[in-house]
């Protein structure tokens, strides 16, 4: 491990270190709580010469992502970060970035959406980008934030993919929590993994003018969109390769999903972000109490990791999905639960699915809550509830 140093970093700082270590060329971002320290730290890296990059100071997130799009279109390696309303203000540009097939990477300190004003963490902002054709990864430790951003560049820039990628983590409970993180002593080992090559996409060059983002008439638009479908599909195998190569090269193992204590458990709690860590500790407590359940972390949301999930789900009696955002008025208002249900039904599995909503606006979820959720689900199973008609809104008054 001599190539690494173990230092205390928040997830925000881990994101900034990752941007530095992949040697980004351009950063355009607008500060918003709880993302602000990402940009502050990158500005420090630029000011003290650790990173040679152009920092574009903009007046809004709309412009931040616009600047990133312009920069990426010239072939630059580009980074941005935001939260909540900032991500909403970027919303129309999300589709332009992916439609133009620009491999921009963005860190998101996931935060509740206004109104009422909440600066605290949940995944309402991330889940609202669901159909924007961005690769979407959700980390549950600061280490994973650092590693995922590095992996995101490699996957996004792959010529079979060329899609932007976002790496999200819990606003505050991760963005502002210091944890030990291994970062590269010298970024050359990271750049060996994500080398800066001649861009594999068509770039803007005054000497060789081209038009990008022109009108897509009804006789062409659909084909462009279908190419995005193919690109997202391709990102599955590319991500698989990226995770394998990263794990082999650096010894930290990653996949689309992560599991804990699944051997011999026929009930699992599935969640994402920092809450997975709390679920792990809840699982340990339950084990001591003689209750054997496992936990599954959804690490990649887009592309949806159906194959990896079904491998686990097919042998389960029940999966308890704890969502951290609400899809108002949906068939099942837990956005991830809805996806799980689709996968389960597609393969005709008999696995029961119980949907829970928790941690909205950073309402605290303790290990005891997770244990109580499992116990509640055991009762539901006893009553023969296979699929919850509606999510259980855990902890709401």
């Amino acid at each position: 491990m001599s190539e690494w140093i173990r230092i205390p970093l928040t997830s925000n700082y881990a994101a900034a270190y990752a941007a530095k270590d992949v040697d980004v060329d351009v950063v355009a971002a607008y500060p918003i709580t709880p993302q602000t320290p990402v940009v502050e730290r990158i500005a420090e890296f630029i000011a003290n010469g650790e990173l040679q990059a152009e920092m574009i100071h903009v007046e809004s997130e709309h412009t931040a992502l616009s600047a990133c799009i312009g920069a990426a279109a010239t072939g630059a390696r580009v980074f941005t970060a935001t939260s909540a309303q900032g991500l909403e203000l970027m919303h129309e540009l999300l589709f332009i970035a992916s439609g133009l097939r620009l491999p921009i990477v963005m860190a998101i300190a996931a935060r509740a959406l206004s109104a009422p004003l909440s600066i605290w963490g949940d995944y309402s902002d991330v889940m609202a980008t669901r159909d924007s054709s961005w690769i979407t990864m959700i980390a549950s430790t600061a280490q994973e934030v650092y590693d995922s951003i590095i992996q995101a560049y490699k996957a996004a820039e792959h010529s079979d993919v060329l899609l932007p990628a976002m790496v999200a983590y819990d606003g505050f409970m991760m963005s502002h929590t210091y944890e030990p993180v291994y970062v590269a002593k010298d970024r050359s080992i990271i750049l060996e993994f994500v080398p800066k090559k001649k861009p594999s996409w068509n770039i803007l060059d005054p000497d060789k003018p081209i038009t990008i983002g022109a009108v897509g008439n009804p006789d062409w638009y659909y084909e462009f969109k279908y190419q995005q479908v193919v690109a997202m599909e391709n990102s599955r195998s590319v991500l698989r390769q990226v995770f394998e190569e990263f794990s082999k090269k650096f010894g930290r193992w990653y996949n689309f999903i992560e599991t804990y204590n699944m051997d011999g458990s026929d009930i699992a709690i599935l969640t994402y972000g920092g809450l997975y860590g709390t679920a792990i500790e809840a699982v340990d407590i339950m084990k001591k109490q003689g209750l054997n359940v496992g936990t599954i972390k959804l690490r990649v949301f887009r592309p949806w990791p159906e194959e990896e999930l079904l491998k686990i789900l097919k042998s389960l009696k029940a999966v308890i999905v704890i969502d951290r955002a609400i899809s108002f008025g949906a068939a099942l208002e837990g956005p991830v639960a809805m996806e799980v249900l689709t996968s389960v039904y597609k393969k005709g599995l008999s696995t029961a699915l119980h949907s829970y909503i928790a941690s909205i606006g950073q309402r605290a979820v303790m290990e005891e809550d997770i244990i109580a959720i499992v116990k509640k689900s055991l009762e539901l199973l006893e009553k023969g509830v296979v699929i919850t008609e509606k999510p259980v809104y855990w902890g709401v008054r």
């Binding site: 173990r6 230092i7 205390p8 709880p34 600066i119 605290w120 549950s140 819990d170 505050f172 409970m173 991760m174 502002h176 929590t177 210091y178 944890e179 030990p180 920092g274 809450l275 997975y276 860590g277 709390t278 792990i280 500790e281 950073q362 605290a364 979820v365 303790m366 290990e367």
Partner: protein, 192 residues
Amino acid sequence: MKWYFMLNLKRVEIRWHGRGGQGAVTAATILAEAAIYQGKHAQAYPEFGAERRGAPVRAYTRISDTPIYTKAPITEPDVVVVLDSSLSSSIYIEGLKKNGILIINTKKSISEIKKDVSRDDIKIARVDATKIALEILKAPFVNMAMLGAVAKVIPVVDVMYIEEAIRESFRPKIAEANIQALRRAYNEVEVA
């Protein structure tokens, strides 16, 4: 001197109370940083909300010999550290575990503190960190002195690493003065 209260715990959870500007968040962070430099596992996080000078502030530190997975907030700390004794005792004593430890910056005696908190199931440590800070730093920045008291009372992190973390966080002159304050509080903290 053997105030090794916490050595039987695999994980220690600490809640810091101060007022905005006193450095409770910095102290919580530096302790976690020191633990990490020492090779342990640690988390530190502030209480999230409006940050205003003078307003009550909380910060948290978790230290463990084994990896920490949870992202749940600390609601029942093993240790409470109070930087400002003008805070209401009902606020800082809330949730403190049975057999937990209260480490407080105060001029009061231990028996007076006992009366304030009306708990006889906790241990109490006191130090006049304000006096130390005023004498050494010429300003009431008590956070590093309180860190010295913490290092003594719950020796889960070696002082050497705390000093290293202080040197990483402050300019040399300020770091050395704070280390002096830390060492003095380490020697002067009283326990009952």
